[in-house]
Amino acid sequence: MKNYFLILIIAISFLSCQRENQEFLGGSLNDQFGELVVLEPFKSNTANFNFSIVSPRFFEAQWSKNLNWSLSVRATQTGATKTFTGYSNKLDIDNASWDGSADDFPSFMKDDVCQATLTLSDSDTIIELTTTVNVSEIKNPQEGLKVVADFEDGLPVNSLPFVQPGAELTVTENSAAVGSNYLHLGGYVPYDYLLTSIKIPVQDMDIFSATSPLLLYFNMATIGGTLGEVPANQFIKIIIREDDGSNLSNGEKYSMEINPVNWDTWQLFTLPYSDFVLESAPVNNLREPGKINQIEIMCLSCPAESAPDGPTCPENTDLIVKTDIDFIAFTENESYKP
């Protein structure tokens, strides 16, 4: 009798334990070894993407196994691009929704015709699928955006340009980061670091008076020149002035350098205001976004022949400086999305 009782205890002890319910252990063999086959064709949910209204805008496709995929959307006219990547066996609204933004400048424009390319690759096979989608309306300006200068109507009103002999500062049309125009800064000044600069007044910044400098972002599109044609050490200095002094000229100044500017496609430069460094004598030693009243952009490069202070760079002889800018703006809480 006692033996049977013991047997019963043993039976209960091993039958009462429960295990987690898993489909299988480890990675899927289908993902590792299965054949890659497209099950649903690649397409957009609609032929025209209107980013100005709230509506679903996504790409769709399905294939036979989980793998790394990349989806690249490129505007045929402006060259704007947007890239999606992921690991799954399908594209849908969850992983391929597009809000109209670009990876970087240039931004998409109204009526852009875009070619979308989906690349699926596993260890043996690479499949590329394409479709076309039109941008019927671009995305609305993001919340908390304040544009300081986009140069679409030339230089901002009351701007103060400074141009050394040999330097250039011109509003230029064609291949801008946003819209049609951008500001070209550059030239050949072999006797001084500073080539040219522009002081742009900023108004109505009181909308950011309650914004922390950690959450106020300075944004600007920048582009250099082809390596070998421009000095390797050309750079931009940005000075932000506040209206917290006894007069307009002695307010605190915070600065940052973009050093060097050595890329030849438009790129977004973005930085929280809190990262700018105090350059002037302090007034209250506080970064106050609501009191920003001027932005100065300086184009600089090590001179080839002589310098009033600092070394010279003979290797820059005959190299023309190019540090163009476009779309200067402030945003709140996040960087600008081109």
Binding site: N3, I10, E20, F24, S28, L29
Partner: protein
């Protein structure tokens, strides 16, 4: 007065004689000389050397010191001399063993230093060799050398630490006595450069002897000691089981054996402040039928969870990914030579002397059904065993068959099925003795083409010994191994979960090792074996190996 003096002298004499019987210092040891000459033959190979000649002599000198009647200190020193040639002449020396053992109050036994530990196949167990079924005597000579060099004693692990055991009677008709055995050992030293903390292995057994049988609680815990390095990761694994061997009063020829328990593994990441916990359980229930002392049959059902983790039991003796320095490459493209039966027995391949938290790499061609022994995770099924059948004191037979499957699929919902069959026979007749063993395994899985598995393997052992005289014997042995089919071998992550799978295939791969030898027994303690062996492998790489070995051993 005279009577008192006589008594005194008699007493003193007796005492002195008694002390002389228990020697305070004793010497013991073993000496060995092993000389090998090997020839390697690959068709068309002009790049690799084809002969190797090497050997060594060594002496292990043991000193047993008994400072008191209850205490004993054993230490072994080794002097080893390479005989020149392939590895060059050199002398090495070291300490092989240092153990202090004794008894306290005639009740508590203890050991400190080098200790051999073994519990159950699910808690603390050094699994058997996978290239052995029932090996011939001529191969056992070499096997004993491997056992000795790697401290393999049965299925025990040699560890360094402390062990204590004691027992006491309960004065009860049903519950007769309790035996307690506890241990704690150092599994790994701290390494600050890799932030690997000190790791200990502790546990024990508490056995309750009852009138129905023995019930035992086992515990095996492998854990990191905090603050021995700049801690980044801490590991802890605990296995607790209960086993029972119960005789059935109403059915005296039958008995039950059972073991069941749980495991829990914790991986603590102190940087990310997260802990991964993996836990599972197992059970093994068996019914034994033993009508006579010459026959014993058993039927067992097993269920070992896929997340069951027991580092001290889930192990493989041979490091299959290791290679030998003897003819390491093959062919004119100098490819790494695949090791085989000859290397596992005679050459310098790696055998694990201890265990760690990671599942060892195994070779599915040698063991795929239960590569980590009974503790292999993700197995359920049953086995039928003829544990022992003795016929006329001359023939001993044993056999077992396992029919199992996975509990949960690996990489797919399809389950693998396993069949393992083992048969052994030993026969003695006058001056002849023969032994044979066969192990056959098959693995299968259905499904899509990329997940289908069909793998079969066979290992055959055969040996014959003939005693020419009391001192002289002729030995013959053969080993044959075959594997055919495919498998998808899991590559494990740091949590011992399958991460991805490496396809592996065997195209009717064969290897055969034959050996003929002469053994001279100079005495009970010294013997010389000369053997001539031939090995051939037909697989992705085809080659043959010939070997002449002289092995002399002396125990004193």
């Amino acid at each position: 007065m005279r009577l008192i003096a006589i008594c005194f002298f008699v007493f003193t004499a007796i005492t002195t004689m008694a002390q002389e019987r228990v020697k305070k210092i004793e010497f013991y040891g073993a000496a060995k000389t092993n000389i090998l000459h090997q020839g390697f033959d690959v068709y068309g190979d002009t790049m690799n050397v084809s002969k190797a000649n090497y050997g060594h002599s060594l002496i292990d000198l043991g000193i047993l010191v008994r400072p008191s009647a209850n205490t004993e200190i054993a230490t072994e020193f080794r002097l080893r001399n390479e005989l020149g040639g392939f590895w060059g002449g050199a002398v090495t020396y070291g300490i092989r063993k240092l153990t202090l053992k004794g008894v306290v109050n005639d009740a508590i036994r203890y050991k400190i230093g080098d200790i051999d530990l073994e519990m159950t196949p699910y808690t603390l167990y050094n699994n058997n060799y996978q290239d052995v079924v029932n090996e011939a005597t001529v191969f056992q000579m070499a096997r004993e050398v491997i056992d000795y060099e790697n401290y393999f004693s049965g299925n025990a692990w040699r560890q360094q630490g402390v062990q204590s055991s004691y027992g006491f009677y309960l004065n009860n008709e049903t519950f007769k006595s309790i035996d307690v055995n506890l241990f704690s050992t150092r599994n790994r030293t701290a390494d600050p450069s890799s932030a690997s903390p000190e790791r200990l292995f502790s546990g024990g057994q508490i056995g309750l002897n009852t009138s129905y049988g023995l019930i035992t609680f086992h515990s095996a815990n492998l854990f990191d000691l905090k603050n021995t390095v700049n801690d980044m990761n801490l590991y802890y694994n605990s296995v607790n089981t209960i086993s029972a061997n119960i005789s059935l009063a109403d059915l005296p020829k039958f008995s039950l054996n059972y073991e069941g328990g749980t495991s829990k593994a914790n991986y603590e990441n102190l940087i990310e402040e997260e802990t991964v916990t993996i836990q599972d359980y197992f059970w093994n229930l068996g019914l034994i039928y033993s009508p006579t002392n010459k026959l014993r049959l058993s039927v067992n059902g097993i269920n070992t969870g896929p997340q069951f983790r027991s580092p001290a039991a889930q192990n493989v003796r041979l490091g299959y990914s290791s290679s030998s320095n003897v003819f390491p490459t093959i062919g004119n493209n100098l490819a790494v030579r695949n090791m085989g039966l000859m290397d596992y027995l005679y050459n310098d391949v790696f055998y694990y002397k201890t265990f760690d938290s990671q599942l060892d790499l195994y070779n599915p061609a040698f063991s795929n059904a239960l590569p980590y022994g009974l503790a292999t995770p993700n197995r359920k099924g049953f086995s039928v065993s003829l544990d022992e059948l003795a016929i006329k004191e001359q023939l001993n037979l044993s056999s077992e068959i396992h029919m199992m499957s996975e509990i949960i699929g690996t990489g797919t919902t399809q389950l693998k099925s396993f069949m393992k069959f083992v048969a052994k026979a030993n026969y003695d007749y006058k001056k002849w003795s023969a032994n044979a063993g066969l192990a056959y395994e098959s693995t299968s899985r259905d499904g899509q083409a990329y997940e289908k598995i069909e793998l079969s393997s066979m290992l055959f052992d055969f040996g014959i010994d003939f005693d020419l005289t009391d001192q002289l014997s002729i030995l013959f042995g053969t080993k044959y191994h075959m594997a055919d089919g495919n498998e998808l071998l899991a590559v494990y992550d740091s949590y011992n979960n399958p991460l991805y799978f490496d396809p592996i295939s065997y195209n009717y791969q064969k290897q055969m090792l034959n050996s003929i030898g002469l053994m001279v027994n100079f005495s009970e303690r010294s013997k010389l074996t000369a053997s001539l062996s031939s090995f051939s492998q037909k697989a992705e790489q085809e080659y043959t190996f010939n070997q002449l070995q002289l092995l002399y051993r002396l125990n004193f």
